[in-house]
Symmetry: C2
Subunit: 374 residues, 2 copies
């Protein structure tokens, strides 16, 4: 194998590749990047227990003298290419087990891993993939993965449920204390699908979607999901098991609806939450709609002190006062998902889940379970 | 006590104050900020085992209704003031043990600590302090503290030795494997001084020197050092014990002198060091001046591979070839201290300390001990 390429081109692709590099693995070959040089392309392949990434490079700076395939120790290779000066970098394999790298005044000899150890990895592509704007895919990820469970006692909840039904794609995540749901329109006539993707895989995908490309293609079947983005194939494993049926959890009638400026609401909850920051993960604040129509957000710590925030709703529909307590972290996490400058907070009762919706965020619902106090 | 002030003014001062807040301390009162309201100023006082900071605020927005002194839980107070909207914030003490804070629609009641628990802290000021440009002080810190020891087995080496002699201020740090020395001119006729300041105190001081002020005053006596910077007094404890006499360690004659572009040298050493990054702290690279006058920087790991970097010195004075091995980390740390674009590397022998000097960094010497290999 013998080829040369522009350093920056190789590096930009390696930076994507390395997102599927295993750092700790009992299988050392998964710490490697498989490099295939074909007639007219360079292919980079990486894989860990969750995701596999395949990149096909057909750059005009790519000059192939002879083909072949090798397995390179990933970490040191990427670090080294990062440090090279701009320009052309040349690669050649000697004695079948050493890669010689030359660029300007730098010569590196790198011991190779055994490419025969590398597992066969198939990427399953459909003839008619689902087509999405890549920025919409990115925001679906941002709006859902945070709500997935980070503990493993119910593994299925560490994933994001993706459903295709009625010409819509629905993404749902819940850790059983809160839930995020986003619906978007897709092309017509797709078969119904219901899969669960590890939320970490989606977070990694989100980092990959940084190139200036409009479109992402989703190849979904019951065994795997492959995202196709430019020259990148990004495959994730699916979680096994049934995602809970969540549609009945979301209330549909709301006797109390308050509309706020998002920024005002967020800062008031942030300030109120500071008093209980010791117990970081579960700092509880209270929202009260008083009989005189004032809204207060309060927090009380016998040790430290007490905060009272008055906040004026822009609009209000209400038949009754309410006092409801909730995790400030869950509330703030939820608020961050909205692109709207104004949000509705909709209540059904003091111990019933409440939801948040944005004026400009169609299809997005954030649901939070209140906590009982006193 | 009852006063009000512009939130931003208070916050900017609190951000400095909090650098001396104890986070973990057996004495809870050291987690507090002592606030004194006098006739015409607000004084903030914080102290931990290493440093004490006193700030005097005489802002035009400061409006004092009544004087007094209180001790406020530091962390939660600073976090809260950070989150306040711009504008005026009002403070009043009720029942001697609660601070009421009001700003816009926000009301906070904060339980106070007992101000009588707070120790008396004196700041010792001289009539004629040493005067320095604050940016020079900042660079002295940047150029020395990194070379101090981070392990406690010889506590005196965790400090920076500051000497005043012959109208010069000399700062020296060494962990016994490397040494950094910076000499600067000061005003005439100061008494000789020789003290050791904890390097952490200086790093904290460096963060304080961010205001747009030209001058810093140093009040030095045998017991303490106080830096005066605008409305800030920053006092550090001194380390007890004798700092080693280092002047004889620095060679004065160099049979081999190589001059390099700093950036070229740094990137070559960085690349060479990548192969041994597993053993992060002590990755060893070799510099060879060959009989044919070429300079090579190399690194060799039987497991991973080998790097050879050729680098052309801009100038060369040499009677003999040399091959010398050293820690890439120490070398790169040293290079980072120079503002010069070109540096001299000066050798006396393969197992003798070598030094680095910059073409535009008067008074700065970086010394590194080589390691034996083979």
């Amino acid at each position: 194998m013998n080829f040369s390429i522009q350093t920056e081109v190789l590096l930009n692709n390696l930076l994507i590749s390395q997102k599927a590099l295993s750092t700790k693995t009992p299988a050392p070959y998964l710490q490697g990047i498989k490099l295939e040089v074909n007639e007219n392309e360079l292919v980079l392949l990486t894989s860990n227990s969750d995701i596999s990434i395949k990149l096909s490079i057909k750059d005009e700076s790519l000059n192939i003298e002879s083909t072949g395939e090798i397995l390179i120790p990933g970490r040191v290779f990427v670090d080294f290419i990062k440090k090279l000066d701009k320009g052309i970098v040349e690669f050649s394999v000697v004695d079948n087990n050493v890669l010689k790298i030359h660029s300007h005044n730098t010569d590196l000899s790198l011991n190779l891993l055994n490419v025969d150890d590398y597992p066969e990895i198939n990427f399953y592509l459909n003839d008619l993939p689902i087509k999405l704007e890549s920025k919409i895919m990115k925001s679906v990820i941002r709006q859902t993965t945070f709500a997935a469970s980070s503990v493993e006692n119910r593994p299925i909840l560490t994933g994001v449920n993706i459903r295709v039904e009625n010409d819509k794609l629905i993404a749902i995540a819940t850790d059983s204390f809160r839930l995020s749901q986003k619906k978007i329109d897709i092309q017509k006539n797709f078969e119904d699908m219901n899969v669960v993707i590890p939320s970490k895989s989606l977070d990694e995908l989100s980092k990959v979607l940084e190139m200036d490309l409009d479109e992402i293609l989703i190849h979904l079947n019951s065994k795997s999901i492959v995202f196709e983005y430019g020259n990148i194939l990004f495959q994730s494993r699916l979680l096994e098991g049934n995602f809970p049926e969540t549609s009945r959890l979301i209330p549909v009638e709301f006797p109390i609806i308050l509309k706020f400026k998002l920024d005002d609401l967020a800062i008031a909850v942030e300030r109120a939450s500071l008093l209980s920051m010791k117990d970081n993960y579960n700092s509880i604040v209270k929202l009260s709609l008083k009989p005189n129509d004032e809204v207060e957000i309060t927090s009380n710590s016998p040790e430290i002190g007490k905060v009272v925030e008055e906040i004026d709703p822009i609009e209000k529909v209400s038949t009754t006062p309410i006092k409801i307590a909730f995790s400030s972290k869950y509330f703030l996490d939820a608020l961050k998902t909205f692109n709207s400058s104004e949000v509705y907070v909709k209540f059904t009762g003091e111990i019933r889940p409440f939801i948040i919706e944005g004026t400009d965020d169609q299809g997005l619902i954030q649901l939070i379970l209140p906590v009982r106090t006193e």
